[in-house]
């Protein structure tokens, strides 16, 4: 790329080499070794016990639950994130900065607190608890609680990916579409969406990865009932606490694999986007 042909702004090869090696060592220690440790523990007794732990009934139900929770939480945050990004990037209104701050708020809330707030709100001792109980509605220690806590934790991912991009793209194309007679929805679908689709997908993937891996918040609102309210991360904890280390790490490795797969797809998307942009430029 441009770096190669602009020597005044590039580094000599020893510098480059030292920096790359240093980064590679750090990446290995911080990211690769933990991953390797997980896989090594999972395969300590070979493939079979690891696979057996994954296809065991409680593990499978934990996977189903995790997918279900993500399948509800991710679309909610996608729609909310798109709406927020549209309002913030394409429209003018009072309180925009406040809204931006509030959307990022869940990032700075401890997962423990994000679980806690739902307990304070929906728990039997909480503000809405008695009412919910009298109507026989179960929120925490059931799917709705898991979903709510997951939505809270993954709340800003989509919006945060879209807002800077949509702000940078400006409003010209949308305004052109509107003067040509397009409705708001037509403008979004035919003009905005094609321009943001790859970033949107990347945001959704990140949101999904985080939704599947959330532990702290979900742990507070799950009743830890085997086969019913245990998501994959909680199931890992249980297996670990039952000294089923192989099983715990096998499920953990599977979850890590899903995460890696997500990241790989995301990287691929970004590469494709770069190429497309490059072709047009």
């Amino acid at each position: 790329m441009t770096t190669a042909i602009r020597p005044a702004a590039s580094d000599s090869w020893p510098v480059r080499w030292v920096l790359i090696v240093f980064a590679a060592v750090l990446a290995t220690i911080l990211f690769l070794l933990p991953l390797a440790a997980i896989v090594a523990e999972a395969l300590r007794r070979g493939w079979e016990p690891a696979l057996a732990a994954i296809v065991e009934e409680d593990s499978l139900s934990a996977m189903r639950l995790t997918l279900l929770v993500a399948a509800i939480a991710v679309p909610v945050n996608t729609i909310g994130g798109i709406a927020a990004a549209w309002a913030i990037a394409k429209c003018d209104f009072v309180g925009k900065r406040l809204l931006t701050t509030l959307i990022e708020l869940p990032f700075s809330v401890s997962p423990v607190i994000s679980g806690l707030v739902y307990v304070l709100l929906f728990g039997a001792q909480g503000y809405l608890g008695p009412w919910l109980q009298s109507h026989d509605i179960q929120i925490i220690f059931a799917l709705p609680g898991l979903v709510l806590a997951t939505i809270f934790v993954t709340f800003p991912f989509v919006a945060r990916t879209l807002i800077p991009l949509m702000q940078e793209q400006g409003r010209d194309e949308e305004e052109a579409a509107v003067t040509l007679g397009a409705t708001g929805w037509q403008t979004f679908r035919r003009v905005t969406l094609p321009n943001i689709k790859w970033a949107l997908l990347a945001g959704i993937l990140l949101c999904n990865a985080r939704a599947m891996g959330e532990f702290g918040a979900v742990s507070v609102v799950s009743g830890h009932i085997r086969g019913q309210t245990n998501t994959m991360p909680l199931h890992i904890e249980i297996l670990y606490n039952e000294y089923m280390f192989v099983g715990a790490f096998a499920v953990a490795a599977l979850l890590a694999l899903l995460g890696l797969l997500t990241l790989a797809i995301k990287t691929l998307l970004e590469t494709l986007t770069d190429r497309r942009m490059g072709a047009h430029a």
């Binding site: 139900s61 189903r64 639950l65 279900l68 509800i72 307990v119 929906f122 728990g123 039997a124 001792q125 909480g126 809405l128 608890g129 919910l132 109980q133 509605i137 179960q138 929120i139 925490i140 220690f141 059931a142 799917l143 709705p144 979903v147 709510l148 009743g223 830890h224 009932i225 085997r226 086969g227 019913q228 249980i238 670990y240 606490n241 039952e242 000294y243 280390f245």
Partner: protein
Amino acid sequence: MSITTLSRRGLFAASASLAAFSARAQQAPTLLNVSYDPTREFYREFNTTFASFWAGRGNPRPGINTSHGGSGRQARSVIDGLAADVVTLALAYDIDAIAERGLIARDWQKRLPQNSSPYTSTIVFLVRRGNPKGLRDWGDLLKQGVSIITPNPKTSGGARWNYLAFWAWALRQPGGGAATAEAATAQLFRQVPVLDTGARGSTTTFVQRGQGDVLLAWENEAHLALQEFPQAGLEIVYPPLSILAEPPVTVVDQNVDRRGTRALAEAYLTHLYSEDGQRIAAKHFYRPRDTAALRAAGERFPAIQLVTIDDAFDGWATAQRLHFNDGGIFDRIYRPGR
């Protein structure tokens, strides 16, 4: 969107998903046993036995779910609305806390024999093979350079038994009193390098991570560790004196009445006292109450002197208030400047 529509939709999704998860839940009654950490293996076996027993008496085979975790956290979950039919926790105090919120009758501990504790346990030492530090009694723990692993009494029921067992020993030393016991306990915790939140965490730290010279553990937990980690090189040491831990069980009245599961729940708990129940408890290293079962277990449970919480500490409520509540003795131990 309003809260009600959200929760209704959530409810719908929840019921749909639960249906998908366990078809058996739709047909047969279910029971939720909310228990503490070390009972996992025991209840897994007991649940199967009880389900067969119950089905054998002409009832539909019940689906029994269990939830495990730190005893305090589990009690809190029930208080917050986890729909437990029965609770089988590490200490009476935690069940008292649920009873205080009106979910369980106040006199729950009198409803079943022997303080509603169908099995008991005690606190023992788990040490490295050959007991290199020569730890035989509680006093040996205070020797220079001995590193002790115990979970945090604030979050773990088992840790509270550890603490109280040591305190009971300290009181019985020549010239022992509250002041000397507090000083000795403070010394003990100065030698603790890691305070995990639960008993299982401590076991992992001791066995897997190789931390500490001695793990203060439930008797059953120590035996389980020997069984699970045969290559780890561990030994159990029984101190001459320890505490009689009585993990109690009871029915959560409000929940069983709402769900119509009282008969099943009561049968489940009663079955713990049966021959089968007692045998399985002994198999999983819980001391059975039944003398015949205890005798059958033979060498497994060495006879040591066991003090009870009522004798030594005037019951759980007092012990909790004095030692573990905020501002109690345990907090004093960690006050800075000591």
